[in-house]
């Protein structure tokens, strides 16, 4: 199969961006259809391309089966936004552009390409935070500016790191040379840029504000698709440095992030901010997973665990943020007695919460199990125990939400409900979470051989 056909997802996404921009010319733009098609076609293509031979367009692009799996995780994270957001054509173009950037990141073959992809996915995201949603625009604008500065800082760190790395190695990709202090500092700076994007403690300060102010759909998108891309970004960078420094540092950062996120989420009253901190806790686990992947010598099974985690988390986090949209509930107080009001939606949210907490039987449990498994294989005993402690702390606030929904009596008037299609999306996400609990056991054939 030719290299270009392996790039079909990216081509379709780019065509989608152009289509969305052209839609303004027509009287009745249906941007939702463009978004859904522009994501559904790549999704279908990825399922087919899985069985294609890998190809390279050196030095810019490398398309292999692994990158296809990352794209799957990213598109799963983006789908709910495609389905939900308003019919605005500019937002559609921004959104598809961001997904295109992420998808390019999965196939980027060298550092400049990685940087282009990074900016391509980030710039539209700042605008999405500012533009999408209704209500208090000033707050969103403030969050967008904050997000932009964090992103700009991250980009600057990356460029500086790339320059240092290039100065020593004369290479824009992996090198066989041993890294000197200059090269190591370069990799460290680039890794810091990636940790910024993920929101690792102590580079997380922008994250809760942005996730709280943005519309729930956009927050879901940022916490899933964007996080998948950022984790892959971190893996690409740390793979440049063969020495064990990162393998030693990353698990610690991961455990710290997981603990800080879990403890800070405990005290939140506003749901969107709570979910933002909970997403921080999950990010911590992912960073731990990346550390394990490095410590195991960039082990394929560890990478597969990370992809699976992100695919499951795409459903869980999007579903939870969409619940806010569907129910109109914004605080824990408003959540009280919700089960009596809308039993089906409450049950779906409860499934998502149990899954986020990692209580079996469902996808969230298997995902967490796989990360723990890889970390134990890598003999990271202390970080694993800390991460387990963070899982326990997170259970407390997830149970708190379930307790509010089921065990407390409603107080005050019911908040205005969102569109019913958001409710449907929550149900689908919950169902998907349950199915993914069995999927890793049953999808053996689909994934077999890829990660060897």
């Amino acid at each position: 199969m030719s290299a270009l056909s392996l790039l079909a997802p990216q081509c379709v996404l780019a065509a989608g961006v152009l289509c969305a921009l052209g839609l303004g010319l027509f009287r009745r733009p249906s941007a939702v259809a463009v978004r859904v098609v522009a994501l559904a076609v790549p999704l279908a293509a990825l399922l087919v391309l899985r069985y294609a031979a890998p190809a390279e367009l050196p030095p810019l692009l490398v398309v292999d089966v692994k990158s296809l799996f990352w794209q799957l995780a990213i598109i799963l994270g983006a789908l709910p936004l495609a389905y939900m957001a308003s019919g605005d054509d500019v937002e559609t173009a921004l959104f598809l552009g961001s997904v295109l950037g992420m998808s390019l990141l999965t196939v980027a073959g060298n550092l400049p390409m990685l940087f282009v992809a990074l900016e391509f996915m980030s710039l539209p995201a700042y605008l999405l935070v500012a533009r999408a949603g209704e209500g208090d625009g000033a707050k969103r604008l403030e969050a967008a500016v904050k997000y932009f500065f964090a992103g700009a800082l991250s980009g600057a760190l990356f460029l500086l790191g790339m320059a240092l790395y290039y100065a020593q190695t004369r290479s824009l990709g992996p090198t066989t040379l041993p890294l000197g202090p200059q090269g190591q500092a370069g990799v460290a700076l680039m890794a810091a840029a990636a940790l910024f994007k993920i929101g690792a403690v102590p580079l997380h300060w922008w994250l809760p504000d942005v996730y709280e102010a943005a519309s729930p759909e956009v927050s879901g998108f940022l916490s899933t698709a964007m996080k998948s891309a950022a984790v892959l970004f971190l893996m690409r960078i740390t793979a440049l440095a063969p020495d064990p420094v990162f393998a030693a540092v990353l698990p610690g950062i991961g455990a710290l992030t997981a603990l800080v996120g879990a403890f800070l989420a405990l005290r939140q009253e506003r749901l969107q901010r709570l979910l933002a901190y909970s997403s921080l806790a999950h990010a911590g686990l992912l960073i731990l997973g990346v550390g394990a992947w490095l410590a195991l010598g960039r082990d394929a099974a560890a990478a597969a665990s990370l992809v699976f985690y992100l695919a499951v988390y795409a459903l869980l986090s999007n579903g939870a943020f969409l619940f806010i949209r569907a129910s109109g509930v914004t605080t824990l107080r408003e959540l009280r007695g919700y089960a009596a009001r809308r039993p089906a939606l409450a049950a779906a949210f409860a499934v998502l919460l149990f899954s986020l907490a990692g209580v079996p039987p469902n996808g969230g449990f298997v995902a967490k199990l796989l990360i723990f498994w890889q970390a134990v294989r890598a003999s990271l005993a202390v970080p694993v125990v800390l991460a387990a402690a963070s899982a326990l702390v997170s259970l407390a606030y997830y149970l708190g939400m379930i307790r509010a929904m089921y065990f407390e009596d409603a107080s005050g008037a019911a908040p205005a409900e969102g569109p019913s299609r958001a409710g449907l999306a929550v149900l689908i996400c919950a169902l998907g979470a349950l199915i993914l609990g069995a999927a890793p056991l049953l999808l053996n054939g689909f994934t077999a051989g890829v990660w060897k």
């Binding site: 079996p360 199990l369 498994w373 005993a381 149970l399 307790r403 089921y406 890793p440």
Partner: protein
């Protein structure tokens, strides 16, 4: 479909059916729960009778990813606990018959029964863990939705505490699987296969993780603090399942998983474990003596009784382990009866303090009879079931093959526990049923048991008498499988 698959799927289907039937009214859901509960009990009984507990049935599927495989097996130990689960589940449905509960109530009990059955059947540790955790969700809702005043707090506390133990257990299981893989190069969660290869340096940590995971569930002092709250706040039927079956998961895990996987540590740590068990028996009894709430008193008595079971289980002698297992069944039946009686009392008077009653024997003589009968069984009167189990546990510890364990200190601590049991149970019984009424007594609001309640308690008391007078058939069911595990 293998009969064992049917065994755990049947109540799960029943739970779904209850939810569907709930659309046609609460009566329909209730009848549905009764039908499926009876069918489940029938199925468990049939499998037990057909195999006689002697041979074991099993179901095995092709291995799935990560070395996980669908392995179920039922020997006498599993079957006796599944019978207990199915029996108590049916009793719970009958006992809550008058409650106007929603469909979710009945569904939660059936879902719980399904998960518990899975725990007792699973021979693949991954499956075991999934079923183990799945028991938490229905019980969380049973306590939180249908419990008494402080139910919300108790439900969350119950979930968090037991989940903490489970997470440690999960880490231990992962470490075990990884350690075996590094020795043999094979990924497997199969319990039988994991027994074979050595573990290496991580062994003590893995064993400790398993002990903590199971210890929270038993519960072993000082990991017991969730139990009094959960048992006191749960609805009566919930307490029956909680004390009757869920506590047994911890001991079952020790017998089935932790001790056979690490026989060397099981022997070398046994004196410490026996010390904790003796502490359980004495401390639980002392706490029970201090209680003024009847339900809380029974909750603490569970800690004491489970201490006895643990003493038998860690003794390493077959009669001790079998005695521990038999005492698990006994405790399920007697404590189940006691929790139901307190529940009936609470339904009538909305009180359960020791000082809220008095001279109840004259007003509700049948209740007094059943309460007295169950109390006597609980404190180990010869001729009733508790005596047999306690005797076997103490005899096991006295004949233990493990050095230090057969020191008199453990048997003496056990004997002290037996004495203390009488010292907390009989005064409580006297205060409620025989002592003169105080000024605040609500005894006059308590009508005697009706036919449904009497039938439930007759069944339970008949079982106590049966096991007490003729324990041989039960021991014959349990002991061969215990010998099989520790061969």
């Amino acid at each position: 479909m293998s009969p064992l698959t049917v065994l755990w799927v049947l109540p799960l289907v029943g739970a779904a059916a209850c939810l569907v039937a709930g659309r046609f009214g609460r009566e329909a859901a209730k009848i549905c729960a009764l039908v499926f509960g009876a069918a489940f009990f029938g199925a468990a009984l049939t499998i037990t009778i057909l195999t006689g507990g002697a041979g074991s049935v099993s179901a095995a599927g092709a291995p799935l990813a990560f070395g996980v495989s669908y392995l179920l097996s039922a020997d006498g130990l599993s079957l006796s606990l599944i019978l207990l689960t199915a029996f108590l589940n049916l009793i719970c449905v009958a006992a809550s018959w008058k409650q106007d509960a929603s469909a979710g109530y009945w569904a939660a009990f059936l879902a719980l029964a399904s998960a518990l059955t899975g725990v007792f059947l699973a021979r693949d540790l991954f499956l075991f863990y999934i079923f183990w955790e799945a028991t938490l969700i229905p019980m969380f809702f049973i306590i939180g939705l249908w419990g008494s005043d402080n139910r919300r707090h108790a439900a969350v506390k119950f979930f968090l505490f037991t989940f903490a133990g489970s997470v440690l257990m999960l880490l231990a299981l992962i470490a075990l699987v990884v350690a075996k893989h590094s020795q043999t190069g094979v990924w497997t969660w199969d319990l039988a296969a994991l027994k074979e290869a050595p573990v290496g340096a991580a062994g003590p940590w893995i064993f400790l993780g398993l002990l903590l995971g199971f210890g929270v569930k038993i519960p072993v002092v000082p990991l017991h603090t969730w139990l009094p709250d959960a048992h006191t706040e749960a609805p009566a039927a919930g307490s029956v399942m909680l004390a009757g079956v869920m506590l047994k998961m911890g001991l079952y895990g020790l017998i089935r998983v932790a001790l056979p996987l690490f026989p060397a540590y099981a022997a070398s740590w046994a004196p410490w474990l026996a010390g904790l068990a003796a502490l359980n028996a004495v401390y639980g009894a002392l706490c029970a003596m201090a209680q003024t709430d009847l339900k809380r008193l029974i909750a603490y008595s569970s800690i004491a009784h489970l201490g006895f079971c643990l003493l038998g289980v860690v003794s390493g002698a077959p009669q001790g382990v079998a005695g521990g297992a038999l005492q698990m069944i006994n405790h399920g039946i007697t404590t189940g009866a006691l929790f139901l009686l307190v529940g009936f009392l609470y339904e009538r008077a909305h009180k359960r303090g020791l000082s809220d009653f008095g001279a109840l024997a004259g007003r509700a003589p049948r209740m007094a009879f059943f309460f007295g009968f169950s109390i006597l069984a609980s404190i180990g009167l010869p001729g009733l079931n508790g005596f047999v189990g306690e005797f076997m546990c103490l005899s096991g510890i006295a004949h233990s093959p493990i050095p230090l364990l057969n020191l008199p200190v453990f048997a003496v601590a056990g004997a002290v526990g037996v004495t203390l049991a009488a010292a907390y149970a009989l005064p409580a019984y006297q205060a409620v049923f025989w002592a003169p009424e105080g000024p605040d007594s609500v005894s006059s609001h308590v009508p005697d048991l009706d036919l449904r309640e009497k039938s439930i308690l007759w069944t339970l008391c008949a079982l106590m008498l049966w096991i007490g007078l003729s324990p041989a058939s039960w021991i014959a069911l349990i002991e061969p499988s215990v010998r099989g595990i520790y061969r």
